[in-house]
Amino acid sequence: MIERLARWVDRRVGGSEFAEKKLTKIFPESWTFLFGEVALYCFVILVMTGTFLAVFYESSLVDTTYEGSYAPLRGVEMTAAYHSVIQLSFDVRAGLFFRQMHHWAALVFVAAIVVHLSRVFFTGAFRRPRELNWAIGVTLLLISLIEGFAGYSLLDDLLSGTGLRIAHAVMESIPLIGTWTTSLIFGGPFPGEYIMSRLFTGHVFLLPALLAGLIGVHLALVFRQTHTQFPGPGRTQRNVVGARLWPTYTAMSFGMFALTTAVLAALGGLVQINPVWYYGPYEPFIVSTGAQPDWYMGWLEGALRIFPAWEFTGWGFMLANPFFPAVLLPTLTFVVLYFYPALERTLTRDWGYHHILDRPRDRPIRTAFGAAGLSFYVVLHIAGAQDIIATQLNVSIVSTMYTLRAAALVVPILVALITYRWCRDLAGSSQRPARAGAEAEAAQPAPRPAPAYGHGASPAEEE
């Protein structure tokens, strides 16, 4: 029956030959290659749960009075946006579950992107011919951060309103164009008339469409350029050793999807996230202590908290304080991320094509640089909860600030030195086993026959 249907389609549309070729494509095996898939499947779940939420969410700042089933807010004035979120949480069947699953998926999504990016960085998978896909990946991270922030801000609760106010102040600190851009985006002075509907349009239509499109290109490029592989017996620059797309790799990938769904559903059903009913509706004159953003914005929050109170005035302009930690720092971060492949290529004069991955220990400088960078952002992230650390450890908030400032400067240097040293030691210790492997490979001709397909259509081959 299915076969007949397939033949019917094939006779009219064609492509069975094409499909067969693609389905037998080889993917190399390493559990670390599944990190990107976790991000992909989080995105799928974000779209599915988000669609449910969008049905009940109202992106409006019109004032209403809550009369729903959650007694501690009954009779309280609030915006329609916050009102719809409280309704969704307490009066829509499975509403809170989907809200929580969506939020957990968002946190894990960005975390998976960061781990995937780290894997690609430390193994040198970004090198020629894959620089373009690296740039697309960095763009995906950037858009995900904006997308997450926009989603977090839609709820119009006390914490997200505070976050939006900070974003407003940061935007205003951009020299020359700051105030104009801000009032353009917000639609007038804070909070502006249009900000909610713009955040909604961005979060629900524009950014997800961009993400989906770029993810498509990202995966198509992996397919076209073939996946990188770790060095090993029978693995060369010209072949790919691994499992076929159909059925082995597809089964693995589907298993990953099922497990991602299971973990996110368990978190969504069992662990409370963003209980906005405690935070209350946003009022610009109200603020709470202990306010923090979602984790992926924590590094910016931390930078804002510990950056010294510098401000410069000259030629009738002022360079306001938030500019340095919250505009300059993220700009530099992403410039370094975008241009790292070019930078490394120039410094190492390595212009060649690489399909075989590095072990991090074999590239001590790159590994030390990456580890130092990560540690810097971890310190900034910790600084984002500086007041909670002060309360929990029973120390003064000022001393945590000075400690974290010092840590932001010292820790990356220490981490770099230690990592470099460690890599050198590990590289020295692993020299012999690696050579032993090579000898075994030479003694045993082609232990695993390299498949003919895989690299066949790679543009790299044609060079």
Binding site: T32, P72, L107, L267, Q272, G290, A291, W295, I388
Partner: protein, 248 residues
């Protein structure tokens, strides 16, 4: 040999345990069992309070005068265990009260002779007031005590305490007297009904939270959620990836 060392350990444990209560007695006055006759508040006051606050509550160089503090303050500091302290510089922290309830009542009656100011408020917790109390709480209290009442950091070493153990009477007393760095709110700023509403919100919502979504993670805010997302969310999925990646 093992028996000898076990015996030595047991002896050591007895010695250490025996020292425990003595050591703590030096820090905190031992709660006195109320005697059959009424506890002598004067005796307690002169023994534990007068050294810093003066024999008539007039204050000394070690402690402030009690003339303006009112019985609300006397009651608040004694029931929260903030007082008595053994050193003037000792930070005020919530402890088990040093006195029995009758003794606190007697001390309140005793100090009422020389103190003027806010008296112990009458507070009625009313579920109808919770929503309004929540609004007032966010407006007046959340900036220091946090949206869920976990407390928070203030400038310097001071901290705003968590509100999970505060009784409704203590909440209103704190409002009126402003303990530590907290400002005192007059009845013009927060009326009696509003103070009642805040106490109702603290007692009925903050202390019995509606954790509709599951495990609460302590209401610390998004950072605790981030930690869970990394440890249990991504962590579980990385383990899953390692497991699946080894299947082929």
């Amino acid at each position: 040999m093992a028996a000898v060392s076990a015996a030595a350990f047991a002896l050591l444990a007895v010695v250490v345990a025996g020292r425990g209560p003595d050591a703590s007695a030096q820090v905190q006055p031992q709660p006195q069992k109320p005697r059959p006759e009424a506890p002598s508040a004067e005796h307690l006051f002169q023994r534990d309070c007068a050294y810093c606050h003066g024999p008539q509550g007039e204050g000394t160089s070690r402690g402030p005068s009690l003339e303006e503090s009112g019985t609300a303050a006397v009651h608040f500091y004694l029931t929260t265990g903030y007082m008595p302290i053994s050193e003037p510089d000792e930070p005020t922290r919530r402890r088990e009260p040093a006195y029995a309830e009758e003794e606190i009542d007697a001390l309140v009656r005793y100090t009422a002779r020389f103190t003027r100011g806010p008296s112990i408020p009458r507070v009625e917790v009313d579920p109808e007031d919770v929503a309004h109390g929540g609004e007032l709480y966010r407006l007046h209290c959340a900036a220091c005590h946090q949206f869920a009442g976990t407390g928070g950091a203030l400038i310097g070493v001071e901290q705003s305490p968590p509100l999970f153990r505060a009784t409704p009477v203590e909440v209103v007393e704190a409002l009126r007297i402003g303990p530590g760095p907290m400002p005192a709110f007059s009845e013009e700023q927060i009326s009696e009904e509003d103070a009642n509403a805040i106490a109702s919100f603290v007692a009925l919502e903050l202390q019995q939270p509606t954790d509709a979504g599951g495990i609460s993670l302590g209401h610390f805010g998004p950072y605790s959620e981030g930690a869970i997302a990394w440890l249990f969310g991504l962590g579980a999925l990385l383990v899953a990836a390692a497991w699946i990646g080894r299947r082929t």
